[in-house]
């Protein structure tokens, strides 16, 4: 009999709430209060998340974010700045000791990315894992991923680009000067792709989620059972949102 994990879809949350949910699920799972959980989510308004170690002021043009109505947040995971607009974001929370999760961090990246790769395959897209934390298709990045391990629990979240507007992305991220900006946009266009670009037609979030859900079930040989956030998690989300992710002290800490 297949192991049952929880499966959540939470659409249109703010950047602070999304990061608070991931952290709350991690804490609840670490205390044995919820099973391993896979979540698919979207961001509203669009947002930039920066890696834990990044400097907000060095990465993001905060004035332009305000002008465009784009939110921002510091993640608890490392990695780079990501513009979350037309994409599917996933997270998985699972105990470090779970037999499906390699002890080695790099190996566990590969394993979890394997679920995303199967999810893309279910949409007709061939892709592969490229260490450290990318998934590429046709030689271009389609997914970025970041993992943390806290309280003996693994949290990995990542993106699958459904469509991408590189000019908009670069108007929000800080680049050294205009000449370099043009070069970077040109370079990134060569290095980044999306589900729409590869398939030639737009795939909705819901359709992509169905394919990804199957991908996680196939990779980990489990059944994902639709669930909802518990009352305990809702309390934690509110706490983490206020104390951390919606708090300027956190977002500007580096």
């Amino acid at each position: 009999m297949k192991e049952k994990w929880r499966y959540l879809i939470t659409e249109n949350n703010s950047a602070a709430k999304n990061m608070a949910i991931d952290r709350a699920v991690l804490v609840a799972n670490s205390e044995g209060k919820v099973p391993p959980t896979v979540r698919f989510y979207t961001w509203s308004p669009p947002a930039i998340s920066i890696g834990y170690f990044q400097s907000l002021s060095e990465e993001i043009d905060l004035k332009k974010c305000k002008d465009f109505g784009v939110d921002y947040v510091r993640r608890i995971t490392g990695g780079g700045a990501v513009f979350h607009d037309d994409e599917l974001t996933y997270s998985i929370v699972i105990p470090e000791s779970h037999p499906q999760i390699p002890k080695n961090i790099m190996e566990s990246y590969g394993r979890i990315c394997g679920a995303v790769i199967k999810g893309l395959k279910n949409q007709g897209i061939d892709s592969s894992y490229v260490p450290i934390n990318d998934i590429v298709s046709e030689g271009r990045k389609i997914s970025g991923n970041a993992q943390t391990r806290k309280l003996k629990t693994v949290l990995q979240h990542g993106t699958v680009l459904l469509d991408v507007d590189i000019e908009k992305m670069f108007s929000l991220l800080i680049v050294p000067n205009e000449k370099i900006r043009d070069k970077m946009i040109s370079d990134v266009k060569q290095r980044v792709t999306s589900v729409k670009h590869i398939l030639g037609n737009y795939v909705s979030f819901n359709d992509s989620v169905n394919a990804m859900k199957k991908g996680f079930e196939q990779e980990f040989n489990v059944r994902l059972i639709p669930g909802s956030l518990t009352d305990y998690e809702l309390v934690l989300i509110d706490k983490f949102e206020k104390e951390c992710f919606a708090n300027p002290d956190w977002n500007h800490k580096r």
Binding site: F53, S55, S57, I76, T77, G78, G80, I132, A146
Partner: protein, 122 residues
């Protein structure tokens, strides 16, 4: 930039609840470097150091790398204060902090950190 760097470092010192503020005086020199770690990630160093004795007064290690546990980066930054800006001394100090605190780097390494810090002097 210099004032901003100092502000950054001071803000960090408050976050870390360091009781002693970084010492900013006329010998204090601020510098930054950006270094792409070979086969790794982008590392940015913001450094404040004593230009006379070449000791670190404060630094920020930022970038798109991974450090496990994440909070260890702040321990490392704190432990490097008062360290002399010398490649071997820095390498030994960073290596010791990594062992003591069971830190794991991904996309970052000791050599890259030393290079990034020393680049601030050029």
């Amino acid at each position: 930039m210099s004032q901003k760097l100092k502000q950054n470092l001071y803000t960090r010192s408050k976050n870390l609840k360091i009781t002693q503020k970084p010492v900013f005086n006329k010998l204090s020199t601020c510098a930054k470097s950006v270094y792409k770690i070979p086969d790794g990630k982008l590392l940015r160093i913001s450094l404040d150091y004593n230009d006379k004795n070449k000791k670190i007064l404060g630094l920020l290690i930022t970038g798109d790398f991974f450090v496990y546990p994440e909070e260890a980066i702040e321990i490392l930054e704190k432990k490097l204060v008062n360290t002399t800006l010398n490649g071997k001394i820095l390498k030994d100090k960073i290596s010791n902090v990594i062992i003591e605190n069971k830190i794991e780097f991904i996309g970052l390494n000791v050599e890259g950190l030393v290079t990034g810090i020393m680049m601030c002097l050029k």
